[in-house]
Assembly symmetry: C2
Homo-oligomer: 224 residues x 2
């Protein structure tokens, strides 16, 4: 299924980097740890990092009901952006220096989730995005914790994806001139060794869903 082609979700700069398959959108979102969520407050933008989770064509975010930021979400226009930096592009010219990256930008109006089942599923998606396997391992939310948490939904109706891969795009004259190195320095997000909470014995066994993640390959980076 294709992505939307509304004015604001149509890539106008460097169109060759635009991806229009919905699976590319899912892939970028599913590989992320945080999003940057933009709202408008008093006519000015506010951009904050936060966790998120996806179920089909809906992205969920959450926060404390006491957070003023979240009150701005309900019904209002938001922009949710997830970016992976995959490489630093060293060109022969300063002008063609660039980055290899994957980014997804979602536009829409956030909806306060009130249905108990959808709230539960949304929270699970957020926890599982951050910490796969944790929902089954950790204590589930209590009634009090649920009451303190607001959950918002954003439909993936209007979204765009941009991906840059490959070597620098130097001018022919600079390539012909020679004498300067050019290439890409890959950038990865990697997990270190898990650190056990000081309130537990140091030898407490680390559960499989955490230990396995730390040993995993880094989040796959595009590149040439």
């Amino acid at each position: 299924m294709s992505l939307s082609t509304t004015r604001r979700s149509t890539v106008t700069r460097l169109r060759e980097r635009a991806r229009t398959d919905r699976n590319d959108l899912y892939a970028v979102l599913d590989a992320g740890l945080i999003c940057h969520l933009g709202v408008v407050r008093d006519g000015a933008p506010v951009v904050l990092p936060t966790g998120y989770g996806r179920i089909d064509d809906t992205v969920y975010v959450h926060g404390s009901t006491g957070a003023g930021y979240l009150r701005m979400l309900d019904g209002g226009p938001v922009c949710l952006t997830v970016t992976h930096v995959d490489g630093i592009v060293y060109a022969r010219s300063t002008f063609h220096h660039s980055m290899n990256y994957r980014s997804a930008v979602v536009h829409g109006n956030a909806r306060l989730v009130t249905d108990a089942d959808e709230r539960w599923d949304g929270l699970r998606a957020i926890v599982e995005q951050l910490a796969p396997g944790s929902w089954a391992h950790a204590r589930e939310p209590s009634r009090k914790e649920l009451a303190a948490t607001a959950v918002f939904a954003l439909d993936l109706t209007e979204a765009s994806v941009k991906v840059r891969t490959g070597p620098p795009g130097d001018d022919d004259a600079d390539i012909a001139a020679g004498g300067r190195w050019a290439g890409v320095l890959p950038v990865h997000t990697e997990f270190g060794r898990p650190r056990t909470c000081p309130t537990l014995p140091a030898a407490a066994p680390i559960p499989e869903h955490v230990a396995r993640r730390g040993q995993h390959e880094p989040i796959p980076a595009a590149g040439f």
Copy 2:
């Protein structure tokens, strides 16, 4: 020097995570590869990833003069956010799952830079932030390239910094109950092995400023 304490730059949620020293702001900005820049278009937020550079108390961003997005920057309110994810916080409860992170949020009005010297310095700061050492190594911008590039400045007058470090903040009852692992999985940004551009001989020597960066320690991550 302290950071500002205007309404929108005062951290209201989880105040214990707020840092108010200007050096903490510099440290978070200087360690980043990209920012997420928010603007308002037709009343809705637009958040896009982009490179940036800092000189003293000014952050610079740039883009093609042909980019519609950039036209929105001139004089208008923007929010520039840089975030580092340092760890996944696995708690005994789903509710206390969290992230260790450092984030800087800058509010202000972007100014189109017209002074030739400031444009040059701003562009150099942007290239050096992304690729330290590249400005001296690569071909400098031509007059034509400069004409195609818009540079914007944002003062660091109104900014906030939040940092979370340390173990999960589980409830006493969950700690006492035992039976569940809790801790932190560190997250690092690391550089891989440089890949030489296919237009160069594979054996082309990789310059020191690139090779050294690839072998470097990862960007330092906070943690316990």
